[in-house]
Amino acid sequence: MSKYRNSFLKEVEEKVEEGNWVKMCMQCGVCAGSCPFGPHWAHPPQEIFMMIRAGKREEVLSSDSMWMCTSCYQCIVRCPRKLPITHIMHGLATYASRLGLVPKSQPTQAFGQLFWDNLVKVGRVNELKLSLGLYFKDGFGQGVKNAMAMQSVGLGLMKAKRLNPMEFFGGHGVSDKSGFHAMLKKAQEIEDQRKKPA
């Protein structure tokens, strides 16, 4: 039977998180109508599912649609076929990242990577460094401008003791850093093995 199946659908089923669900979509469009960022998707989820089945590999993986997912899970709870749509979108986005097909300067991809790198470093998120990393991602000049624009928010948070400038010099983290890093390294190795692009 495998020859009747287009290769991109097969690839998604094998390599993308929860990708084996894609074939279950019945094209009702409830996901598209439920998404808070719906109007900003070039291709809403049900269209992405149909495009996968039609073998449109480049169009799907280089689309910035999946990056519009806010992880609100509205699509999941409303889907009549119970597809884990949120996770499939995350999976497609991650897979596109691995293949280097994400549109240049996609802000959520950049922020997501920044967030991950931040938490991996010491095991917990350092919010100060995360904000600064976000503001300064396009260089120093733009960073200063961004930081100035958000100055009142930052000062307000500091005043309420919900942002600590001293976090710049260290801050919270796990104690067993070596075990934590060895664990993630191993997890990444296994992930790479299982999800190696076709």
């Binding site: 609100c72 959520t108 991809q109 967030f115 998120v125 993630l184 992930e191 999800k195």
Partner: protein, 297 residues
């Protein structure tokens, strides 16, 4: 005897972080409710939702597996309880994946071995509101109220991740009532409005501020239009997004929003007779003056 839970506080609750006021008020609330929170030693970040972008599937799930493994080892026989919506969701989601797939469990345990840990899947992952609703119950919660929050009109903002995809048992995804019930139990008025479960943009408030601030505007506008003088939420990111960006939203949309956004734990602390500092009301960017007045009486 105090009820015991294995507590997963999460990154944003730490000292000097964006929801440190949530943790302070949770600790006060638990003292009044005779709940003992035993922190999971050396817990790590859950990866939140946005962690997918850099972490992929197994590394992300392994993060939560480590927390559960540590909990099983140090706090045996207790449920894991999180206050943060994303912490709870990630932990519960990871547990579901690990328990439903032998392969995933084996892979996660191979990784955990590097840190000398093992995941067995013995503990439930629960949110603090579940403890309040299911283990204590509204009736018992109401009995401890010393200062009813009379005259306060509150919009219960449930948001996304304590509501979907798991939610609280017996509640609907479209119109969950538990937060309203909690508000009424404490003697305040729960405002009926139409943005109770609307997404605030989540992590995309950072990467897509324009699109997210439209969401935030809709939520606050509806709360105001239906007479609320405060918003209350069970989620740290909902709280932060809806509170701290009001200035930005005002600039962008020409609105004049200035509505306090608090946690249920702050309401309970005040209703149980706690002081403003026990309720961490000094942690608000937009001061909850009516609640402060009540706490001061």
């Amino acid at each position: 005897m105090a009820k015991q839970y294995s507590f997963y506080p999460g990154c944003s609750s730490q000292k000097g972080a964006s929801s440190s006021n949530y943790l302070t008020s949770t600790n006060s609330m638990c003292k009044y409710l005779d709940i003992q929170l035993n922190e999971i030693p050396d817990w790590n970040c859950c990866g939140a939702s946005i962690g997918y972008a850099g972490g992929g599937e197994l590394p992300r799930i392994t993060l939560s597996a480590r927390n559960i493994a540590l909990s099983e080892q140090h706090n045996p026989g207790q449920d894991v309880v999180a206050t943060c919506a994303a912490c709870w969701l990630a932990t519960r989601e990871a547990k579901e994946r690990l328990d439903h797939s032998e392969q995933m469990k084996a892979d996660a345990n191979t990784a955990l071995k590097e840190a000398g840990l093992v995941y067995n899947g013995q503990q439930k992952a629960r949110h603090m509101v579940e403890v309040l609703i299911e283990d204590i119950g509204f009736e018992a919660l109401g009995k401890g109220v010393k200062k009813p929050l009379k005259g306060l009109k509150i919009a219960g903002y449930v948001g996304c991740q304590t509501n979907r995809p798991f939610g609280v048992n017996g509640e609907s995804f479209e119109n969950p009532m538990y937060l309203d019930n909690m508000i009424e139990t404490l003697g305040a008025e729960a405002v009926t409005y139409d943005q109770k479960v609307t997404c605030c943009g989540g992590a995309l408030a950072f990467s897509e501020p324009e699109k997210s601030q439209k969401q935030i505007k809709d939520i606050i506008e509806s709360a105001y239009d239906h007479g609320a003088d405060m918003i209350v939420t069970p989620c740290p990111l909902c709280q932060a997004n809806v509170e701290i960006y009001q200035g930005e939203v005002n600039k962008r949309f020409g609105t004049k929003f200035n509505i306090p956004v608090t946690y249920y734990s702050q309401l309970i602390t005040v209703a149980y007779g706690g002081s403003a500092s026990e309720a961490a009301l000094d942690g608000q960017l937009i001061r909850a003056t009516k609640l402060e007045d009540l706490a001061g009486k």
